[in-house]
Amino acid sequence: MVFSSIIFLFLFLPAVLTLYYCSPRRIRNLILLLTSLFFYAWGEPVYIVIMLVSTVTDYYFGLLLDKPGLSPVKRKCVVALSIVVNLTLLSYFKYADFIIENVNGLFGTHIPLTELPLPIGISFYTFQSMSYIIDVYRGTVKAQRNWIDFGAYVSLFPQLVAGPIVQYNTIAHQLNNRSESIELFAEGIRRFTIGLSKKVLLANNIGLLWDIISSSQPESLPMFTAWLGIIAFAFQIYFDFSGYSDMAIGLGLMFGFRFNENFNKPYSSQSITDFWRRWHISLGSWFREYVYIPLGGNRNGLLKQSRNILIVWLLTGFWHGASWNFILWGMYFGVILMFEKWWGLKLLAALPRWVRHAYAIVLILIGWVLFAFETPTLIVGYLSAMAGFNNQPLWNAETGYFVYTNAVLLVVLVIASLPKKQAFKANKLSLYHLVWYGFIFLLSVAYLVDATFNPFLYFRF
């Protein structure tokens, strides 16, 4: 089930809200656990077992780590074992075929592929479980003794399938000490509605444009169409994913949880370093917390730091999918970040603001080409089209058609990507806001009822 579906909005959500708010406080986590398991089983009736295995083992590993008198060596073993279990599950289901294909290709072997579908959300919940075990090991949080509370943390349906990746330390307290209120609930509705409309009205519609452009032969694309296409993709992936995060955060608020933000206007970035502080923040923080800093971070000189950056971005790329283009995409950003750390940022600081912005946007867009196409031929073909190396005119009639039929949408997308001036920020709820939220909610429902095109990009991860 996805949030942007009629069945979720009008059957699942009312049912969960009723159950939750009619129950006494002490069983509310149990309600969340049960409804979350139902939510997950709806989409993955078989693979739910994998999630349960990951959850149950980490629950017991957590208890084990909390035992007084456990020797440091044994503690290390426990945490290592937990990481091995989670990474094995993740590797087996996500990376096995990729590894087999490459081994077969390199050594001419014929190992059969597993051809297993990727269990929904596995990249997200394994990372959450690991954060919990590592935090308990480090002593930054206490182990969760109550299996219901722990189960509710891992499986919490708002963030289960596509994040944000909630680190245990940010939510441990809220599990038992949160207070739902009208204010939080209203704020949740606003966030959810914004997220829903980002996904349904913005991402899906601009996605149609990207679909048409990306399926044409790159050799025949005029330069402007190629740029328009990748801009469309950039908008689609941002509004798709940040819309999902908004919906998750909004739903969390409805049940009294406050998750951390996952996006902060990434397309207003002034550098790639800046971009990665604003894009998929929860993944960035996870890698920072559990890989970059343990590797030494920026403490041992520029050379070691560069190595650490490359490792983290290699992993970040690979996390996004079992395919070389994602690794390339990660390394691409790793190299740019390294260059910015050495002297790039200083150089940028001397340039006018709009140049910095243009620099960041162009590099981000080139990055999306690496992200969007799986084969080197398509990547090179598309980049040549963007550079105008394919002997095509700058634009043609079709370019014009794409522009004017999407002009209104593109203007909305640009406005929605820009940071809002403080004065326009919606702090107080006015009648104007009520009408606005009602309008975009109903419009989103209309698009959902007619949904022939409603994929979630981040379901692949």
Binding site: I7, F10, L11, A186, I189, G400, T405, V408
Partner: protein, 380 residues
């Protein structure tokens, strides 16, 4: 004061969710959507296998979406909003000039197209004693590209037609729809809201075919041309849900010298005496007025004067473009067999020898022909 606005938001939001949810459960669920001209999702069956394969979940989601309260009105809202943002298409249908709707036609896959044509050629090679005519009609977008929205991309159907003409064996007579339609392009050859040609367009096809045969077609004066409907909003409207269009008119060409016909529909084992089913004029898909819509196999016998008969039998292999052409042909050929190859799964070769058929007419429109692989069944 501040809290009041928030209370209001919560009440509105939660209220909307519950209200629509309750209406979903208590309003009656239709089986068929007239507006969309399709059967809606049936309630999913709760079996272990269905649940484990996620089929149950998928069907349940379509079920709820299909039977969501006020579905037609929601579709209307989406369509209005798409037009308001200058989008010229909805679900693959362009809103063209002069109230014409067009199906988006992009470059076809020529490799596939070549295979379909080879299928037709092979069939000809296997039946050298059979006289074969292949009629390929453009759809409205092929004939009226100038009525497309400004700058809208569209592939030339003339190029497709030329490609077919080049690849088709010479012993098959090729009838290019552009040849007999283009001279009359300024008249109403097509429905504006449907993917078919009008009865007038079908009449032109009939004239062209009969003249090709060397016979004398009936002139328009030989018919009483009757308007049977003025409320036809066809398949393009169904798919796009564009609103504010004036409906099409459907005409029937009734010969002044009436010929008694007997139609046998093999699918249902029914025998009818009229080629027109008026019950469809009250439904969404009014084009099914002609021959009662799609049937896999039917035979039409007409009681002609022995002296007028130049040919006894004809086999038509077709898509629905043939439906309004066939009534014209009954004025010349007393026994017409009609196979819709998309739904007919028997051997056509056997059927022909069983029924002594020596003359075949294909009638297809370019849009079906390039996308429908069913012609590959021809040589089964």
């Amino acid at each position: 004061m501040k809290k009041n606005a928030e209370r209001l938001l919560v009440v509105f939001f939660v209220g909307t969710l519950f209200l629509l949810s309750l209406l979903f459960f208590f309003l009656p669920h239709l089986r068929f959507s007239e507006l969309e001209n399709r059967f809606l999702q049936r309630p999913p069956k709760m079996t272990l296998e269905n649940v484990l394969s996620s089929n149950y979940a998928t069907e349940a989601e379509s079920y709820v979406t299909d039977h969501f309260p006020f579905r037609d009105q929601w579709l209307w809202i989406k369509s209005v909003s798409e037009q308001a943002r200058l989008q010229q298409e909805n679900n693959g249908i362009y809103k063209g000039k002069d109230e014409y709707l067009f199906e988006k036609f992009l470059q076809p896959d020529y490799h596939k197209l070549q295979r379909y044509i080879e299928g037709v050629n092979t069939f000809g090679d296997n039946h050298t004693d059979v006289d074969i005519t292949f009629m390929l009609a453009p759809t409205s977008v092929g004939l009226y590209p100038e009525r497309l929205p400004w700058l809208a991309p569209s592939y030339s159907q003339e190029d497709v037609s030329e490609f077919v003409s080049n690849y088709l064996d010479n012993d098959i007579t090729y009838m290019d729809g552009f040849d007999f339609l283009s001279p009359h392009a300024s008249e109403s050859i097509y429905y504006r809201t449907d993917h078919h040609w009008s009865t007038y367009g079908a009449y032109l096809a009939y004239v062209a075919y009969i003249e090709k045969k060397g016979w004398q077609p009936l002139s328009q004066d030989d018919f009483i041309i009757k308007e049977v409907s003025n409320s036809f909003l066809g398949s393009y409207h169904t798919r796009s849900q564009f609103h504010g269009l004036s409906p099409d008119m459907i005409e029937a060409y009734l010969p002044i010298e009436q010929v008694a016909t007997e139609i046998f529909i093999a699918d249902t084992n029914e025998t009818l005496s009229s080629m027109y089913d008026e019950s469809f004029l009250g439904k969404k898909d009014q084009y099914a007025y002609f021959l009662g819509g799609v049937h896999a196999l039917m035979t039409i016998k007409s009681d002609l004067d022995k002296l007028d008969i130049k040919q006894d039998k004809l086999l038509i292999i077709k898509d629905s473009y043939a439906h309004n052409v066939i009534p014209f042909l009954t004025n010349h050929i007393p026994e017409i067999h009609v196979i819709d190859i998309r739904y007919y799964n028997g051997s056509i070769g056997e059927y022909m020898s069983d029924n002594g058929l020596k003359d075949v007419l294909y009638i297809f429109n370019i849009s079906t022909f390039v996308e429908d692989a069913s012609l590959l069944k021809l040589n089964n």
